[in-house]
Symmetry: C3
Subunit: 202 residues, 3 copies
């Protein structure tokens, strides 16, 4: 997968997180522009922090019109299809899980490309993945999803780790990102479905 | 308006947001230094995020003594005149609205100057304008003002858009920023006064 | 104290703040990886903001394995020794106070070294010192410790100021940082012990 492929994955993540942000804003009955602001923060927050830490300025969520278009589209689709989406149980959470995987992979890939440092790639993969959701929840004054019992940041780390390992081991550049995204999404979804948590003694 | 003019507008915004931050801290009965911290976060938070995204380091809110002087002055004036200010209805909100317009305009102008990218200028204009208030409300564990019903971020976008359009269309460099500031302030103030909200079906 | 000495102080601060973050996460009964995330945010959050503002990329909390090792160690030690630590009254607060002093000093020193600007050094010393704790409390949806009555950010400012003044006045490079750390820690601890607050008329 070349440069354009990762931009496509990044845009998909932006759209998926955008839907989750727009739904969360709509559920709080914000006005349309308020919904757009929360959509933008959720969709672009993680990528902005990632780009700031990589010194890749201005952050893509600001200077690239395609990201802004994804944000506007996600907000518009959500507001238009809200009655349908509302019937799905916990739709915010499903789109959030998808965005988690997509952003973990792009965050890890972009960090590897710019710093060639495995630690930076793992940490920034997780931060890019969880950043937008944390910002959404902080803006909406909710308990951040990252604190939920069900495996969350660990799923993002799994996705980032597979991407980094695949690049290092020379796996197929076309398949690796999708395996990584799928792994993250499946872990998070199963954790939600069966209320998985890490073992603990407390 | 030359470079110095925008610095002056930026300092005015710092002072106005500083007053709003100091009032919010005082209302929560923080001690004097706690008030100063919230004043600084409110007054310089948006500008620091703006400068980080533009790669203009160190952020002006840190390296330029005039910004720190504005912060100290705003905190001192607020604590000294608190009995008077407290009699005004919702003084936090009025100074917040003024800061909103001033920062939207300076954020848009500085972003245009450094990146010559209209999207960056619009997005960073809004972020610079709303950032300090969000930080203030997050620190004080309040519901962020950006979630309020009355038009908020949209007013900032209007101010940023007028500034960007005016620069592009070659309007008077002296008048444009003030028209933009005034537009933002008037929109936000009218929205507050008459409880305007965007139309919505929910 | 040479470059390596300050890295050592920075790692100590990372460990101390890490313990405070891990304890806070454990008290909230997060799962082990959730505890690790809060530990990382608390231990590295302030340093990441500091490095972003200094343009020192990637931030040390991401690219340097020793910081990540400190974070993992702090989380592991905390979870393992929790029954013991829990018997100490307010252990989060004690480790938080120690981290406050260590980070104020390193933040001030690194800022002076990279910008040679006293204002930047004072502001970034305080931000580096309080940033991790604020991030911890925002993530855990608690009232930020910076808002507590007992002198907090002012203690960090005292530590940063002693370090900056000592560097300017040519004090011993070995002793100055420890005097600064100790001053900050003692001020904060006494303030906690005797419920000191700044004088105020409200």
């Amino acid at each position: 997968m070349d440069q354009y492929g990762y931009v496509f994955v990044d845009l998909m993540g932006t759209f998926a997180f955008g839907i989750s942000g727009a739904l969360a804003g709509r559920e709080r009955r914000l006005d349309p522009f308020g919904v757009l602001v929360v959509t933008y923060a959720t969709a672009c927050g993680g990528g902005i922090v990632r780009d700031l830490c990589l010194g890749s300025l201005p952050p893509v969520g600001m200077g690239d019109w395609r990201y802004l278009a994804c944000v506007v589209l996600a907000a518009a689709v959500t507001l238009w299809m809200y009655p349908t989406l509302d019937r799905i149980r916990n739709p915010v959470v499903w789109f959030d899980s998808l965005g988690l995987g997509l952003f973990a992979v792009v965050g890890a890939q972009k960090s590897m490309q710019l710093t060639n440092n495995i630690e930076v790639a793992l940490v920034l993969g997780v931060i890019a993945a969880v950043g937008g959701g944390v910002l959404r929840d902080v803006l909406l004054n909710r308990v951040p999803v990252i604190l939920e019992k069900e495996i969350y940041a660990l799923a993002a780390l799994a996705g980032a780790a597979i991407q980094v390992f695949g690049q290092w081991a020379g796996w197929s550049a076309v398949l690796t990102p999708w395996i990584a995204v799928l792994t993250c999404f499946v872990i998070r979804s199963l954790a939600l479905r069966y209320s998985w948590s890490l073992p603990r003694t407390w």
